[in-house]
Amino acid sequence: MKTKTLTKLSSIVATLLCIVIGLILAFVVLLVTYSATKSSSVSAITGRFSSASWGMKKILSLGLSNPSSYSEYLRRFTTLKYNIGQVLYYAMPLIMTGLSVAFAFKTGLFNIGASGQYLFGGIAAIICAGMLHLPWYVSIFAALIAGAIWGAIPGLFKAYLNINEVITCIMTNWIGLYLVNIFVYNTPAIQSLGADSSRTLTLTGDGIILSRLNLASLFAGNDNVSVGIIVAIVFAIVVWVILYKTTFGYELKACGLNKNAAKYAGINDKKNIILSMVVAGALAGVGGALYYLTGNNGAVYKTEEVLQQAGFDGISVALLGGSNPIGVIFSGLFIAFLKVGGDNLQPVYNTEIVSVITSTIIYFSAFSLFFRNLILKGRVKRDLAISNQSNILNKPPVIADIKGGEKQ
């Protein structure tokens, strides 16, 4: 038991270590990309080093820096509240796509198709909300179904035709994008919602867009905050219950750890592969619905030729969260936090610095096994020797997992 808690503790320390390394590299990038002309817009900056530390403070304090007086303090407190609301708003679709990727990881599948499923869910929600004027929870349910259908395709191909899910997911991403575009071009009702030549549309109306629950007053009037973030967290908890407290979840994980062993134990691996992709698709679909149903500037659907970035962000969220649904809530919030911080870097720095931080953290989190072993060195060996005396078949507590982070 003691070893288990120690392992958990050390994995948290390892994650923090990764974040620190990421931030250090970001500071170096801030130092290198300093430009005198751009930073002249901020009076506090006097040189390369002060500029970099200004940027770092902006990222870490959600756009604030040291207040000089009490009134200044109050003003900045308002900005802080607004920015926290912004973090929640950004986090909502990220948590959902992160959950989608994490859920598939648990079955040993790599859902790189969250982008297409997200879009399908989004358009289903737009149809329900914009054309049929249904309440937001019905729209979310429709998005869930649409995402599930689009996610089922890679699952079916994998289970019955032995086609690698990575390739089907890439194909369904693009097919989904063009299908949605064709649908939008040919539906006059969608264009009339906010028709212009580029076919953008905006959703409005109480009850149709996500309920605000008077949350705006908590976040200094930021009306991007809605019931959506609560929906996302509830979904995360539901996914956690499914994975760790039900037979279905146990079977899914068994398939992910060793397909042949699962089959031998009488688990229907084909059914589990399909169901896993269906659930993953549904989660990504809800993410799309939450994003478009927010109803402010975020709810504009534009026909584009580029895949939705939210689906790919989901991969980083899932990896950072160790493929654990509860971990995904925090990693989603963390990435959203960095994004808001990055927005505040402008115009002195480019927002791309956030991607540098994220990728560095992800890269080093791949080493987390190594870090953990380093931290645990000696300690585990001794504990293991004791536990081995009682049970010779006891597994070592730190094992390399082939896909998707740590074991529970």
Binding site: M171, I182, Y363, A366, F367
Partner: protein, 336 residues
């Protein structure tokens, strides 16, 4: 008379570019490492190659030496890709890290890093600080001394439209890769490391070294593919926009081609043909134009076509598909 040669030309160029990157993916997966970071590696290659061409144009070397300068730029692109892929090799081979995580990190890092690099370099030269590296200089195009008139004729378009020095090299790469994989000691050793590394090690093969070479080759080819893509698709490299999912497509082509060079060529040709068909569809009379539907519909349908065709072909051919047995699993000396 420009339709047919244009169609064939577009198919060949696009297919060759896919083939090169997919071959890179093949080498690394055959050695047992999954490289999902091909997309990011391509961006690095394209950016460094384009920056080299720009530098040669500024110091006048390009005007004097022409194709030699382009060749050096292509080498720089390939080498930068190779060095970049070493990040993945180190994480996945020595640190035994999850290869999907490493590859994803590479994909996120590359566009951000290249964007920052380009914007800070270019702001030195112009106040606008453009984030696109342009290389549409006269000396970059490869004419082989043929006249303007010939280049607009049937065979001229067939062979030389969008032709750059990368095209013949890509053909060479395919031939060499096929021979290396099947006919040389290195190729057979590489495959054994992806199938059963412990057995390979017991036969005296250095699994770590072989896997490093495998990943390095994938970086080399992806970097080359990056600059090739830039020559075909655009007149400049915008790192922020990346290579439009091309690296992922190459990954799909590799799986479609069943990790075999011949099949990869076939798969790339099928995909590229339908892609080219979409591009030229408006000029082909017997193809439906979907003009009774809203504007943009037909265009989208043809763009969707290569992806659908790939899925359908896969559905019929994939029963026998088999990935290298130990791909994605870190080599553990102690495991049996």
């Amino acid at each position: 008379m420009t339709l047919l040669p244009g169609l064939i030309n577009s198919t060949l160029l696009y297919a060759l570019c896919l083939v090169v990157v997919a071959l890179g993916g093949m080498f690394t997966e055959r050695s047992g490492t999954i490289n999902i970071g091909l997309e990011g590696t391509m961006i690095v290659g394209a950016t460094f190659g384009a920056l080299t061409i720009r530098a040669f144009n500024m110091n006048g070397f390009g005007e004097v030496a022409g194709q030699w300068a382009v060749l050096i730029a292509v080498l720089v692109a390939a080498l930068s890709g190779c060095i970049y892929s070493m990040l993945l090799a180190f994480a996945s081979i020595h640190m035994k890290a999850d290869q999907t995580i490493g590859g994803t990190a590479l994909n996120i890092f590359a566009p951000a890093f290249c964007y920052l690099l380009v914007s800070s370099i270019q702001s030195e030269f112009s106040s606008a600080g453009s984030t696109t590296v342009l290389f549409n200089y006269d000396w970059v195009t490869f004419n082989l001394g043929f006249s303007e008139e010939f280049r607009n004729s049937f065979f001229g378009i067939l062979l030389f439209k969008g032709f750059a020095i990368t095209t013949p090299i890509a053909i060479l790469i395919w031939i060499i890769s096929t021979i290396v994989l099947y006919k040389t000691r290195f190729g057979l050793r590489l495959m054994s490391c992806g199938e059963h590394p412990q057995a390979a090690a017991s036969a005296g093969i250095g699994v770590y070294t072989t896997r490093y070479i495998g990943v390095g080759l994938s970086g080399l080819l992806a970097g080359f593919g990056g600059i090739m893509w830039a020559f075909i698709a655009t007149s400049g490299v915008a790192p922020g926009a990346g290579v439009a999912g091309f690296g992922f497509l190459a990954l799909a082509v590799m799986i479609f081609g069943n990790w075999k060079p011949q099949n990869i060529l076939g798969a790339a040709l099928i995909f590229a043909f339908f892609n080219a068909l979409g591009k030229y569809s408006s000029g082909i009379d017997f193809l439906p134009s979907f003009s009774n539907l809203a504007q943009g519909t037909g265009d989208s349908i043809y763009k969707m076509l290569p992806y659908i065709v790939t899925l359908v072909v896969l559905a019929f051919t994939s029963k026998k598909s088999r990935a290298p047995k130990m791909e994605g699993i870190p080599y553990d000396k102690g495991a049996r």
